[in-house]
């Protein structure tokens, strides 16, 4: 009996890899992380492999480390595999050459993903695997979730026999994250494929002191070449071994595969050659066109390396006259992309040698498609065939984009579709937080498992972490679904959030007569009038069947909070008719029990209540015959946005990025800054409202606001004469600001409503103590008023930075942040530090950002939160890689210093022209504070004025370099994954360089961006991915390591515990002329906390001693003082109380109570021991003033 299941590609592959291996060396990277996580989870649950033992799963510090551990494990005889993608695969390449060179059987499972070039992309294409094609690994490509599972096993069987290691790849996201109904391989089927004798042979080759051998030798010109050629026969044999494995697999499972899989008519003249998931769509398209009279062929390449030239040519119909080869990668400067080159070479070789059925060289054209998961549709495939049929087909074309610069793109007809009437297609627009995706994954499982239908789900997320829109694409029908592209002809569209209706054309993808379901507070009688005109017109034109439910109300009534997922799921089943209603509801209830049961009965009951309440609240809407609305769809960005923002970024934000042509983009990946201000996402249901009478003007709310939406200004009263009626201000309280007016203003349309500002407000209303000086109020009624106020506020003069005492928070916060409105999570713990950095140093900051959350909310299109001041100055920002941020930033420093040095030399050379006084003033300027910086800028301006028009090479060169005389503030920024793990080696080297760089570690104690994997910063007892049983070891003390250099400024801060301490640390770190590192405790959604109380959590961590506040200042040592100042007092609370306030720790008490008890006790011991050590170090009386290390 066939065993069907509905899972995604990652789980399908991990299902096989886990059972066929003993060791997995892993490191998280999107989109492959899921495979490692599954393996880790199964291991923690004690699931056994084929040989009855639980595999060892080890997380390493980087992919390079993972590759090396895999290499070592293989060399000592364990069946070992790994999972990765993109940059991770690049880091593994050196070891891959070794592993292949030593003929070691293993399978690397790769979710093929774009490599960062002009920009990073987490999405799928083949640029990573193509970069690894010289390693000597065999390369096996699977095209669907079913194949990904099947080929994982075929690769495992083949590698053991061939001894050639395998790279098994499938498309990142499109296959790795597609949820699909597949036939699951049983352990018996796996056993039938794995030859025990070959496993034993692997063991026999293992390094053992009982039969010692030497590998990894160094060889000289005399023998290296010959020895390298000694492995040839293994590569010759490999394709045959793979085909044999495929044949055996077909016998075991009934699913046959070929190295080169031909489909279409046997006498085709035009054939398309392709690898990966695009092949599925191509097959659907070729079948569709052939059914309508075309005579086309398709060749799907499965085994790409070793490329079997003979089999390849034999797989082509002898009638072929023209071939189109599609590559999902770009190799700039090459004579063609890799698969194209292989095809041309193979054909040329075979034809030259003769003896093939193919007698004449067909025309071969190559093209690129689908980079970074660009949707690849039947329309594009048809365009490729149309091109092939042209008299002079384009070669080296692109398809799927509009290239209006080099005109390489093929035009295609977007209306062309191969969607079958038998397949039901549905689209769901939801918010990340409302559970839409989870419910849809669940619906697919229900359909897959409760009916005979095949089902497919694919999920598109936007680039923001807070308030992100998700679009779920579902298909189901009686035949296996090959459509590996987004749904564009939906029978059913559901809009789960009323706010989307204001801005997006929801009906764009609905077919005529389709169903539109809206979640709206307006009932069936009022909904029509609430819709924008374009939406009304589309509903009428498409004769859509309209339904409405107030799911938010039902969710509220049934205690579901904001999670409307179950309710909308019931509506979908009720309206789509895929299952009889009663059956569907029973299946949903059953699945609720299965999904939520482990979280307790209460959650189950709430969900079941929501199911029961739904249908009574679902109403059909009578659609009038004409549109009556006066409301128009909102523009994606504000009307005052600059042209580029409107024409390019705005279109991306509005969901029309697909239609932007090549010419819209700078060829080197450069974008303007200060663009997030134009988005106006209106996410907050409630916003903070200032009560100027209660306010004590402490500025804490301004400091902690993660999105810089609360600002303060201090101005002359004359500036307020034209203030809008509702604009608030009061007398400034600080003595330095006597006579001035103080105003606190909220950017209502940019606020995410996290409420962290209200939580930290220390002021209480004297007559109604529940009120603070800032209180949350509904946004909608305030939106227009506050928009006017905000615009007026922005127009008020900025403070003179020279007059601000920067170490006093209530003054310092008046400085304008140059980091605003990022896409970080609501209540983010990292962004307040970045905002502070830009307030203090943003106008001269050069920032290197390690990949991670901060690079995503800092630099993910369409907009960036990095902003500019009134003079157009602001942070300049770049992200190199995850692992190299420290070195990258050091490069900034070295380069800037060199230019400053050279400029100094030029200045001295030009002293006669410039004047000695100015030369001396510029070269001797200390630039210790804002006033100094201001003066230096004036001097540089004067210098430039003198240089303009001076006709000498030196003067022209100095003019280009003169800005470097103004002190640049170089910042190296990243999370703990970077600083403690993957980038630690570089970070250490940079700390030891002595150069003036500032390192900010946003320490969330976990890999936040990739979804909560353990890092070496993760504290003992915390539950994280790869630490499901609680992290058994303590947190690495990065600060102590940094202190050991003696000349490094080190600070450990937590803004929520002591904000002014944080401020001082930033000021001191920047002022220190050598390396500085600030380790900043950043609460995070991955801690399982209520983000509104994030700052409280920071305080709790400090109060119990879990997080220490300190500053280690080498300048103090130079003055003969103890460099270390311990700035937090001895613990006032027990560590356990803090641990139990965060679910990352607390959940261990629920899952493994005994481990929790032990680890929590040890955590207290850690804290005690660390306090003892630090208080000893801070109390020491240094004997000699020096910069010697602390120990």
């Amino acid at each position: 009996m066939k065993n069907f299941t509905t899972i995604d590609g990652n789980e399908a592959v991990a299902h096989v890899a886990y059972r066929c291996n003993e060791v997995m060396g892993i490191y998280p990277i999107t989109p492959s992380s899921g495979m490692g996580e599954w393996c880790d989870q199964w291991a923690s649950e004690g699931v056994k492999n084929l040989w009855g033992t639980v595999p060892s799963v080890i997380e390493m510090q980087s992919e390079a480390g993972a590759a090396a551990v895999v290499h070592g494990s293989l060399q000592t005889g364990s069946l070992t595999c790994t999972f990765t993608a993109s940059q991770g695969l690049l880091l593994k390449i050196p070891n891959m050459f070794k592993i292949a060179g030593e003929l070691t059987p293993t399978v690397f499972h790769i979710t093929a993903r774009a490599i960062a070039t002009h920009a990073l992309s987490i999405f799928g294409d083949h640029s990573d695997v193509m970069a690894a094609r010289a390693t000597g690994f065999a390369m096996l490509s699977s095209a669907s979730v079913q194949e990904a599972q099947d080929f994982a096993l075929i690769a495992q069987a083949a590698t053991l026999e061939a001894r050639v290691p395998f790279l098994h790849f499938f498309d990142g996201f499109r296959t790795s994250h597609e949820v699909s109904k597949i036939e699951l391989l049983s352990e018996d089927q796996m056993r039938a494929m794995i030859d025990e004798k070959l496993v034993m042979a692997h063991r026999t080759r293992a390094m053992s002191p009982d039969r010692p051998v030497l590998r990894g030798t160094a060889q000289n010109p005399d023998v290296f070449f010959q020895a390298r050629e000694a492995a040839n026969s293994f590569y010759v044999a490999c394709p045959g071994i793979v085909q044999n494995a495929m044949d055996k697999f077909a016998a075991v499972t009934g699913r046959p595969y070929q190295l080169f899989q031909y489909s279409g008519v046997p006498d085709a003249e035009h054939v398309l050659i392709i690898m990966g998931s695009g092949g599925e769509t191509a097959r659907e398209t070729v079948d569709h066109l052939n059914e309508r009279g075309a005579r086309l062929g398709l060749l799907q390449v499965r085994l790409y390396r070793p490329f079997d030239v003979q089999r390849f040519v034999q797989s082509l119909p002898p009638t072929v006259k023209a071939l189109a080869v599609l590559d999902r990668t770009k190799e700039p400067g090459a004579s063609g992309e890799p698969l194209y080159q292989d095809v041309v070479t193979a054909l040329a070789e075979v034809l030259a040698n003769g003896g093939s059925a193919l007698k004449t060289m067909p025309r071969v054209v190559g093209g690129r498609y689908g980079l970074s998961s660009k949707d690849f549709t039947p329309a594009m495939i048809k365009a490729v065939f149309d091109n092939l049929a042209a008299a002079r087909p384009k070669n080296h074309f692109t398809v799927g984009i509009t290239d209006d610069v080099t005109n390489l793109s093929l035009a295609y007809d977007p209306e062309f579709s191969t969607e079958s009437d038998k397949v039901i297609r549905a689209l769901f627009y939801g918010l990340g937080s409302d559970g839409t995706v989870g419910a849809n994954k669940n619906s697919i499982k229900i359909i897959g498992e409760e009916t005979d239908n095949y089902a497919q789900g694919y999920f598109v997320y936007d680039s923001k972490k807070s308030g992100s829109m998700t679009v779920s694409h579902l298909r189901f029908g009686p035949m296996p679904i090959r459509s590996s592209y987004l749904v564009s002809r939906a029978n059913f569209i559901a809009c789960h959030q009323p706010v989307f209706l204001e801005r997006y054309d929801m009906l764009k993808d609905l077919i005529a007569g389709g169903t539109l379901l809206l979640n709206s507070p307006f009932g069936p009688d009022r909904i029509w009038a609430s819709l924008p005109r374009a939406t009304q017109e589309a509903i009428i034109k498409k004769q859509a069947k309209l339904f409405v439910i107030d799911a938010t109300k039902v969710a509220h009534q049934t205690g579901m909070g904001g999670r409307i997922n179950t309710i909308m799921q019931v509506c979908f089943f009720a309206l789509s008719g895929v299952l009889p209603r009663e059956e569907a509801i029973a299946a949903i209830k059953y699945s609720i029990k299965k999904t939520y049961g482990k979280k307790g009965e209460e959650v189950v009951q709430k969900n079941i209540a929501a199911v029961d309440q739904t249908l009574a609240n679902l109403f059909p809407v009578k659609v009038p015959d004409r549109a009556t609305a006066t409301i128009e769809l909102l523009p994606p960005v504000t009307p005052n946005a600059p042209k580029y923002v409107r024409d390019v970024l705005g279109r991306i934000f509005g969901g029309e990025g697909e239609s932007l042509p090549v010419s819209a983009f700078a060829p080197d990946g450069t974008f303007p800054t200060a663009t997030a201000q134009y988005e106006k996402r209106n996410l907050a249901l409630e916003i903070p409202v200032w009560d100027e009478k209660t306010c004590i003007q402490c500025a804490k709310c301004v400091a902690v606001c993660p999105h810089a939406t609360i600002r303060l200004k201090v101005v002359e009263s004359s500036a307020l004469e034209m203030a809008p009626a509702a604009f608030k201000f009061c007398d400034a309280r600080l003595p330095e600001w006597k006579g001035l007016k103080f105003s606190l203003q909220v950017a209502a349309e940019d606020c995410t409503g996290c409420g962290i500002c209200v939580d930290v407000c220390p002021a209480r209303n004297k007559t109604e103590a529940k009120l603070k000086a800032i209180n949350m109020r509904p946004q909608a009624p305030l939106r227009d008023q506050e928009r006017t106020n905000w615009d007026f506020f922005l127009g008020l003069p900025e403070v003179d930075r020279r007059k601000v005492k920067v170490t006093q928070l209530r003054q310092q916060q008046v400085m304008r942040p140059l980091f605003e409105f990022s896409g970080a999570c609501a209540g983010c713990g990292e962004t307040p530090y970045l905002k502070l950095l830009t307030q203090l140093f943003g106008d001269r900051a050069v920032m290197a950002n390690a990949t991670g959350c901060s690079s995503i909310y800092g630099g993910n299109l369409p907009t960036t939160p990095y902003a500019q001041d009134a003079n157009g100055r602001g942070p300049t920002w770049n992200n190199s890689l995850f692992e190299d941020c420290a070195e990258f930033g050091l490069g900034f420093r070295v380069s800037i210093d060199k230019q400053r040095e050279f400029a100094g030399e030029l200045l001295q050379r030009l002293a006669g022209t410039v004047g000695d006084d100015l030369v001396t003033a510029i070269l001797s300027a200390k630039q210790r504070d804002e006033a100094d910086i201001y003066d230096q800028r004036e001097r540089v301006a004067a210098l430039k004025q003198k240089l303009v028009g001076v006709d000498s090479a030196d003067a022209r060169m100095l003019l280009a370099l003169a800005d470097n005389f103004v002190k640049r503030s170089v910042w190296l920024i990243g999370g703990d994954g970077w600083a403690y793990d993957i980038g630690y080696g570089g970070l250490d080297h940079v700390l030891a360089s002595g150069r003036d760089v500032n390192i900010l570690v946003l320490d969330t104690e976990v890999y936040s961006n990739t979804g909560g994997q353990m890092s070496k910063s993760t504290p003992r007892g915390a539950v994280a991915k790869f630490a499901a049983s609680g992290k058994p070891l303590g947190k690495k003390d990065l600060g102590l390591i940094a202190m050991s250099y003696g000349n490094v400024y080190v600070a450990s801060v937590a803004m929520g515990a002591k904000d002014e301490h944080t401020l001082k640390a930033f000021v001191e770190a920047e002022a220190h002329s050598g390396p500085s590192i600030i380790i900043a405790y950043s609460h995070c959604i991955a801690h399982g906390i209520n983000m509104t109380y994030g700052m409280r959590e920071q305080k709790a961590a400090v109060d119990c001693g879990q997080w220490l506040l300190y500053r280690y200042d080498p300048e103090r040592a130079a003055r003969g003082e103890n460099p270390l100042q311990l700035d937090s007092p001895a613990a006032k609370a027990k560590v356990q109380d803090y641990l139990l306030s965060e679910n990352r720790f607390k959940m261990l008490t629920k899952s493994k109570p005994e481990a929790a008890k032990r680890l929590f006790e040890q955590a207290q011991n850690d804290v005690n021991a660390r306090w003892q050590l630090y208080s000893y170090l801070a109390a020491r009386k240094p004997e000699v003033p020096s910069t010697v290390p602390i120990a």
């Binding site: 989109p31 989870q41 937080s433 999920f459 482990k598 959650v603 103590a769 990739t1010 909560g1012 959940m1147």
Partner: protein, 331 residues
């Protein structure tokens, strides 16, 4: 000397019983209590809110931020079964029963009838000898009548009694218009014992933070007078056993309450201050006093000074109040 007493139909070696509190949270503490001679132990209360909230909180923590961003579709590993508070508690009962010879009384704390009767069943299945129902209810709704409030108590009791066979004690507050009538109704509704009285955590105001806070205040010996009065009044008038709690710190306190008519005395604050082994000291002092005063058994002195048996029954009523006032004035 025979210190034994009968409470909830259970024969106890002594009337000294540690009440439901964090003091009884660890098995080791229960063993210490037994070793010190406790007659029984009452385990800490499992709260109705705990049953509801833990599940909801965990769900929230595990789902927030998930399925929103392509790189981080979740933030935690998918763990198998979670042992939420209630499961832990059931296991604790099992362990306590296995580790102790004295009776183990479980405690459920709640305010509404729905939801946790099933849990009472599980407590019984886990092997508890009896169940103490701690009905903690502050009626703040001005539409709620005294009868509504009383019926809430009775409904909870009936629901739980309907679900279990083990004896059920009701721990209640003194804030009833007609305490005697309420006790009678609970008695009729099947309460096997009344525990007098619940000490509510009373709110306080923090002048610095301007926040209202609840903190635990340990009882003072004066608190003993309230239960003493009602134990004395109810002794012999209802079928249910009587337990006294609040302000019982010394052997003298124990003796007085027993004489008023309590079957057991619940100890909490004194054990916080002096530890479980202090039970043995209390027992020793009791024995000494009883020896000196030639009492042979607890049964003998139990209720000897209840309202029914004491020389001046009005001493427990208003008349006594008048006398106290006038005496006070005279002084």
């Amino acid at each position: 000397m025979d210190l034994s007493t009968t409470y909830l139909g259970l024969k106890l070696r002594s009337p000294l019983v540690p009440s439901a509190s964090p003091m009884t949270r660890e098995l080791a503490d229960l063993k210490r209590a037994e070793d010190a001679g406790a007659g029984a132990v009452v385990l800490p209360s499992v709260f109705e809110e705990q049953l509801r909230r833990e599940s909801a909180e965990l769900d929230l923590a595990l789902t927030q931020g998930t399925e929103s961003f392509a790189e981080a579709l979740s933030y935690f590993p998918q763990l198998g079964e979670f042992r939420l508070g209630p499961e832990d508690y059931l296991e604790y009962i099992v362990k306590a029963k296995a580790g102790l010879k004295i009776p183990v009384i479980a405690s459920l704390n709640g305010t509404s009838a729905g939801g946790w009767t099933d849990y009472a069943k599980k407590i019984q299945q886990a092997g508890a000898d009896a169940l103490e129902l701690n009905i903690y209810y502050i009626p703040t709704d001005s539409h709620l009548t005294a009868l509504d409030v009383e019926n809430t108590y009775l409904d909870i009791l009936k629901a739980v009694k309907g679900a279990v066979n083990i004896p059920v004690a009701v721990k209640l507050s003194p804030f009833f218009s007609s305490m005697a009538n309420m006790a009678h109704k609970l008695d009729m509704a099947g309460a096997d014992a009344l525990v007098l009285f619940n000490r509510f955590y009373q709110p306080d105001i923090d002048l610095e933070t301007l926040e209202v806070e609840s903190s635990l205040l340990l009882s003072t010996p004066q608190a003993r007078r309230l239960p003493l009065r009602w134990v004395a009044i109810l002794h012999g008038r209802i079928h249910a056993s009587l337990a006294a709690t609040s302000g019982i710190h010394t052997a003298q306190d124990v003796l007085k309450i027993l004489m008023a008519g309590a079957d057991v005395t619940m100890l909490c604050s004194v054990l916080f201050r002096k530890g479980m082994p202090h039970i043995a000291a209390l027992e020793q002092e009791m024995r000494q006093w009883m020896t000196e005063h030639e009492y042979e058994s607890v049964a003998q002195l139990k209720g000897s000074l209840s309202q029914k048996n004491c020389p001046d029954p009005s001493a427990f009523e208003r008349a006594q109040y008048m006398r106290v006032i006038s005496t006070y004035k005279a002084v």
